[in-house]
């Protein structure tokens, strides 16, 4: 064996040892480190998401009293039950203010309260991920008597019970009504001949009610979003929400209908 052969053998052996060290020790460890790096990145992203959720939840908690007041206030526009007495009271009050005679109110001949097309799912505040809220319609026919101007002001007031302000905010001071039809005619045929200003205004309108599956606040109370008793069914919370919300807010549908009784 010449010196050159020995040299080649030594070189090849050294290279083999180095390659083995790289492949068996260094490379797997580096791959492991890379994999861990990826896992750490994923965990960091998960942490960021959790932190975002937590901060959102914290913010929701800090705004809870405002949100609760808003939901209760919305109950004046769309109550959880029919609340016909409060509607009559609102109409009577509006007609008095506008010097219009509130002659009659009747449920529309078009039928019973019609459930809306879109379904709603969430019944509890803790239920999360509620889909579109849809209201149950309550058709009514109101008849008023008064002058053109007074009836015009009355219509404005009925619309104005729930209205959006110029800044886009929702302003709720009474029941949400959609006027579908307006009919004005002389109060009597004789008055029409005589040119009297008295008109009979017949309004076809729709009031709205929250779906039966939803309570006013979904079981939440003024202090906590979770129902006081865990066993409370959505129906039970729905029935009790009106009164429970009454304790948490100064303006509620039940408070509104008080004077009627």
């Amino acid at each position: 064996m010449t010196a050159r052969d020995r040299l080649v053998i030594v070189a090849i052996s050294a290279l083999a040892v180095l390659a083995a060290v790289w492949m068996l020790l260094v490379s797997p460890e580096r791959k492991k480190a890379d994999k861990l790096n990826t896992e750490v990145s994923a965990a960091s992203a998960q942490l960021a998401t959790a932190e975002s959720q937590a901060s959102e939840a914290q913010a929701a908690r800090s705004r809870y009293s405002t949100a609760y007041a808003s939901v209760v206030n919305l109950g004046k526009a769309v109550p959880p039950s029919e609340e016909v007495p409060s509607l009559i009271y609102q109409l009577a009050q509006a007609s008095n203010e506008k010097h219009v005679q509130f002659t009659s109110i009747s449920t529309s001949t078009s039928g019973t309260p019609a459930p809306a097309a879109a379904a709603s799912t969430s019944t509890s505040a803790t239920g999360a991920a509620a889909t579109t809220v849809s209201f149950t319609q309550m058709p009514f026919t109101f008849v008023f008597e008064g002058g053109f101007d007074d009836l015009y002001h009355l219509f404005r007031q009925l619309n104005g019970a729930t209205v959006r302000t110029a800044s886009g905010q929702l302003q709720v001071s009474g029941r949400l009504l959609t006027l579908q039809g307006v009919k004005l005619e002389p109060a009597t045929a004789d008055e029409a001949k005589g040119g009297s200003q008295q008109l009979t205004g017949t309004i076809t309108a729709t009031a709205y009610v929250l779906p039966a599956s939803q309570g006013l606040t979904g079981g939440a109370t003024a202090t906590s979003p979770t129902p006081a008793s865990a066993s409370g069914s959505p129906a039970a919370t729905s029935a009790s929400s009106g009164s429970s919300s009454g304790s948490g807010s100064t303006a509620t549908p039940s408070a509104t209908i008080g004077p009627v009784r």
Binding site: L36, L74, R164
Partner: protein
Amino acid sequence: MKAVNLIPSEQRRGAAVGVGRSGGAAYILLGALGVLAVLVLLYGMARHQVSDRKAKLASVQAQAQRVQQAATSLSAYTSFQSLRQQRTQAVEQVVDSRFDWAHELHELGRVLPHDASITTLDGSIGAAGAAGAASTPTSGGTGSSTPPGSVPTITLGGCASSQTDVALTLQRLRLIDGVASVSLQSSTKAAGKSSTGATGANCVAGAPSFTALITFDPLPAPSGKSGSGTELTASTGGTK
């Protein structure tokens, strides 16, 4: 006599300098050792990195779990917030989809000529594409009784002092905000003492009674501006 080379073999000309007796293998081994040392260093660094990452991973996972638990414990608040948003949006959609009858009555009073008067007014909101129909429109996404696309119409019955004034009235009615079309249904001038139009309007002698149909633009789809993030404002007073 055989010549003998007395120069040491390492120093003879032509021989590799520094190769030595090993023929260069020592250098190869030294180089290999150097590379091996580098590999060992890399291995050590990788090991350190692995243990470091493992510790960090455990720490981040534990922290994420803690934060997640905290978020879960407050999820009821988040859900209530979303309930409020959805309900606000639903009310806003209904509010936005309403037809402003009061505004149109105001407009009617504004544009009506002096020599014309209204005796009857019958307004209704018909289904989309059915101008003049008084059928109840189908419900919208939030159950509005006047969904987008519904067409409001008003049938007017009235008196004018002459047929020219009826024409003027029709022209003026087109100036009402949101009117799509105004069409005359009848204009009758009675030969007798007073005229009675299709709507039963009793006009003074010689004055034609007319009936006109005002068709408004279809109700628009709710605008994108949602006040769901805005605060509700409570008001106890009415508007006049």
